[in-house]
Symmetry: C2
Subunit: 304 residues, 2 copies
Amino acid sequence: MSDPDHIPAAWVAVDWGTSHLRLWPMGADGVPLCRIDSDKGMSSLTADAYEQTLLALLEPYLGSDAVLDVVCCGMAGSRQGWAEAPYAAAPCPPPSFDRATRVATRDARLRVYILPGVKQAVPADVMRGEETQIAGVLANHPEFDGVICLPGTHTKWVSVKAGEITGFATFLSGELFQLVSQHSVLRHTLAPKGWDTAAFEDGCRVGAAAPARLANALFGLRAEALLDDLDPIAARARASGYLLGMEIEALRGEWQGRSVVIVGENEIAQAYATALALQGATAEVTDAEKVTLAGLSAARAKMI
Amino acid sequence: MSDPDHIPAAWVAVDWGTSHLRLWPMGADGVPLCRIDSDKGMSSLTADAYEQTLLALLEPYLGSDAVLDVVCCGMAGSRQGWAEAPYAAAPCPPPSFDRATRVATRDARLRVYILPGVKQAVPADVMRGEETQIAGVLANHPEFDGVICLPGTHTKWVSVKAGEITGFATFLSGELFQLVSQHSVLRHTLAPKGWDTAAFEDGCRVGAAAPARLANALFGLRAEALLDDLDPIAARARASGYLLGMEIEALRGEWQGRSVVIVGENEIAQAYATALALQGATAEVTDAEKVTLAGLSAARAKMI
């Protein structure tokens, strides 16, 4: 995917997250012309900076008079974003174009829509962006019945049946891991990077078997480093295993005997697959970018 | 306890922690002349700064030619402290004077001893300072048979029988709480201070019943704040409850049907007492300063 000069795009798919912005100018054939990555995420923008950000990045893809449809998902639709796109309430299908919020722009060449997130009343939970990835999974597997895991700093587990999001749960295990490894007394005990699969698997087993002992198991890594020179990479993987082992155990009722799809092909997605496999569950790992594009394309298809 | 000028002390009791230093010049009658608090904890000192720190703080209590015994417990005896006082290995009685390390000083008016900490091989764990508080509890109750909880950033639970520390476990729940409330996505959801006992108790119940869901329950506070305007003080107390509820649950085998003593009279000690009471356990809360002094005094009594 090269970066061509002044090739008007048919429309633009946008994933506007908290810290990152990703745009795909789309060709008339439904294939992206390229991908544009930017650090202009929600957290770095005020509401009036969004339009200029889009115009600057999309200049090569704007025609001189044609109107360019821009379909966004993610935090741009939050209260602190560009314009609030009120949540749909689960259980519901992943919100599509009929639930989108049209955002006013000064430049008439842009026609911007933001897809809403999904909220759940009890237990309280929210998502913005992941619902569009769910739509993407469903675009390829309309009959999917199972649970979709979207790993990240805040991992979402989404139960899907008959085309609907029936419920979901967010785990901030990834953030806990970052806090523990960077800011706690363990920061000198855990290596800043590196991986040890056997140590991770040990950690998963401990986390699943004795989740209430998390705070003790973590301190134990520090003590083991002090007394037995525990390897920092093993310590890092074990700590991660404690947290993912707990998470997988907590969700046993969701994944046991059901289809599991993990969205994302990076290391963290692989760690989730490993942790699930330890418990006897097989997950299909699918490409996050592909499902995001499929979800945004499905919404776009309802516009035209 | 006033701060008298030039009253020679009989000896000095010292609790030298990571971030704080506390000294009690003792009268000949075994009663402290006063208490001196300082921020010259281990983490702010190099090994050669300890003696000068003591001299500066103890000047009013030094005789012109007499030798002053100084008995320390805590992190001053760690590898990164003044001089390493090698750990005693549990099961063992709380280390007393016969296990102390004599530290060389340039000033002949000081005779300094550091009491060692205690280590445990499996599961790996360590303490420095708390063992002297255990000695203090035992000084008053030599026949104590039960579990002693020493709350803090890193809470210790110590099993005691027939005058020995039979085993112990450290939980860094307090540090996790600080990280979550100050550095995580929840930092705007949790009030920086304030307390709500009912919310804390709710949190304890959830943490005990579903410990594996910690990372989900924490994110739920953020979602509840977003969707239902959850009160930040209630959110703070609930988060604390999740962590303590887990901890109490993990230790059920230690405290159930046994005597429980909590060392410390501050808010955190009270929170532990509340969390235990919710599970039907009654704990005796005892003053931390008194047991520290009793432990140091018991060691001193073996010297003379």
